[in-house]
């Protein structure tokens, strides 16, 4: 079973060399767009790939009917995967946070989170200006004025206690997804269970969509006390397994840290075994 190698739209397998050729040309927008995605997917982190993606981040030729920049979105996503070792990437993505395409800003926030560089925090915080009162729907669009979920999640990963007063009001936002993102960020920053428990509550919400999202959030923060609730959620086992994997791996990381400190060989904790028992039951 292998679906690992993506292919060119014409059916031929893409190579790194061909992808670099495709992303450095402008005649065929489709090939360029695809190559940007492919370089991220294949984690091709050679300097030529980063160079080409940084250029694509400033592209103004590939425009969607609503005025968006599809190529920039793909380039930002790819740079989130391969941009770790290049000091130009974070500033370039921070610049994207000011792009007038909502989806470029969203992708840039997600990419900045995955690059794990706290230098992005001030620019992310700036997008929360006006707080909840300003966080309203854009007329005629299916989204709010800013990609609040991505911003809050990124701050949860990158920021420290200083941003708590800025994030906290979003716990009361009218959109459930925004509330969840705020709870997730508050938990990551403060490690107070009350915030993770808000997400556990969402696991019994009427809407499957929200239950799924809460599963992903709890997996991402690795909330051990939520493991049983995750296993019992009415949702696909695939999603529950991903969430429990997050919980398990969070445990393993904590455990590894402790063992290293005590210079002991890595052994499985009772909690890790308990989470695996839940996972086994969902296969």
């Amino acid at each position: 079973m292998s679906d690992a190698a993506p292919h060119n739209p014409d059916g031929k397998p893409l190579t790194v060399d061909q992808a670099l050729i495709n992303i450095n040309q402008v005649a065929d927008k489709g090939l360029r767009y695809y190559a940007a995605w492919w370089l991220g997917k294949m984690r091709s982190n050679q300097p030529e790939a980063v160079d080409a993606l940084l250029l694509a981040l400033e592209d103004a030729t590939d425009r969607s009917p609503d005025g968006g920049y599809p190529l920039r979105r793909n380039a930002a996503r790819a740079l989130g995967k391969i941009g770790q070792n290049d000091t130009r990437v974070v500033p370039a993505l921070v610049t994207c946070l000011g792009c007038d395409d909502y989806y470029v800003r969203e992708t840039a926030a997600q990419a900045l989170e995955s690059l794990n560089d706290s230098a992005a925090v001030p620019a992310l915080v700036a997008l929360l200006d006006g707080s909840v009162e300003a966080a309203v729907q854009v007329p005629g669009k299916p989204h709010l004025v800013q990609p609040y979920n991505a911003i809050l999640e990124a701050l949860g990963t990158l920021a420290d206690g200083e941003v708590v007063p800025i994030i906290e009001p979003f716990l009361g936002h009218e959109v459930p997804q925004v509330r969840n993102a705020a709870a997730r960020a508050m938990y990551q920053i403060t490690e107070e269970a009350q915030y993770a428990e808000r997400l556990v509550t969402v696991l019994s919400h009427d809407q499957l969509q929200l239950r799924r999202a809460a599963l992903m959030d709890l997996g991402a923060i690795g909330y051990l006390a939520g493991a049983d609730a995750i296993a019992n959620t009415l949702a696909e086992n695939s999603m529950k397994l991903i969430a429990l994997k997050g919980v398990l791996e969070h445990q393993l990381t904590d455990q590894a840290g402790q063992n290293q400190a005590e210079q002991q060989p890595v052994s499985l904790s009772a909690d890790s075994r308990r989470v695996m028992t839940l996972m086994d039951g969902l296969l």
Binding site: M1, N237, P265, M276, M279
Partner: protein, 219 residues
């Protein structure tokens, strides 16, 4: 007996009358809960309704009924659409009847859907081995083992995780477990995914092997 009969008929009727996805799910859950063999044809029919919630409930119901559901599941298999076939394989994996093993061997290695490969891999370790004649049992176990070794190289972590669970269950029934232990030991150190490594390590512990198999510096 009368109230039970009535309950079955009411539940069956409710499945047939359901006019919404949620209504169908609720009705199938009620029907499945009865654990009644007469529900088998209907539960199998539900697998083809393209309603994942109801299909999960039907699969669980069929697994609970167990061996009596196997003949009909296998009989109907050729007529299934892709989705129904995937659910049927999950039911067969959960039941563990040896008549389903050939199907699971193929599904674990080749199915398009990761949830089917996952269920099949787990099921390959939990076949009801004692239902196989003595002279054929070891051969059947070796078939499971061979495919499970292959499945430990699947692209999807969750399928490899399931293969580890399958191998652990299989090893607990075998006398010669050297190859499985070697495979699990390899995975416990070198799988790309920490969760799979941990599960392999736990499997080794459950098989009576403690600690780190690569290093024997402790003793």
């Amino acid at each position: 007996m009368a109230p039970v009969l009535k309950t079955f008929e009411i539940c069956l009727q409710a499945v047939n009358d359901a006019d919404s996805a949620q209504g169908l799910l609720d009705a199938v859950e009620d029907l499945a809960e009865l654990n009644d063999k007469r529900a088998i044809p209907t539960l199998i029919q539900v697998l083809g309704f393209n309603n994942p919630g109801a299909a999960v409930a039907a699969v669980e119901g069929l697994i609970q009924i167990g061996v009596p559901a196997v003949s009909l599941l296998l009989d109907k298999l050729d007529g299934y659409n892709y989705g129904a076939r995937a659910w049927a394989i999950r039911a067969l994996a959960g039941i563990g009847d040896p008549r389903g093993q050939a199907l699971l061997l193929n599904a674990a290695a080749n199915d398009f859907s990761l949830s089917v490969r996952r269920a099949a891999a787990r099921g390959l370790g939990t076949i009801r081995w004692h239902d196989i004649p003595d002279n054929e049992r070891e051969g059947a176990m070796m078939q499971s083992q061979t495919v499970l070794f292959q499945v430990t190289k699947d692209d999807e972590w969750v399928v490899r995780y399931a293969a580890v669970v399958g191998l652990e269950a299989l090893a607990l029934k075998l006398t010669e477990t050297g190859n499985i232990i070697q495979c699990l030991s390899q995975l416990s150190h070198h799988d790309d995914t920490a969760a799979v490594q941990a599960r392999a390590q736990w499997a080794l512990e459950n098989l009576g092997l403690t600690g780190n198999q690569d290093s024997n510096t402790q003793s």
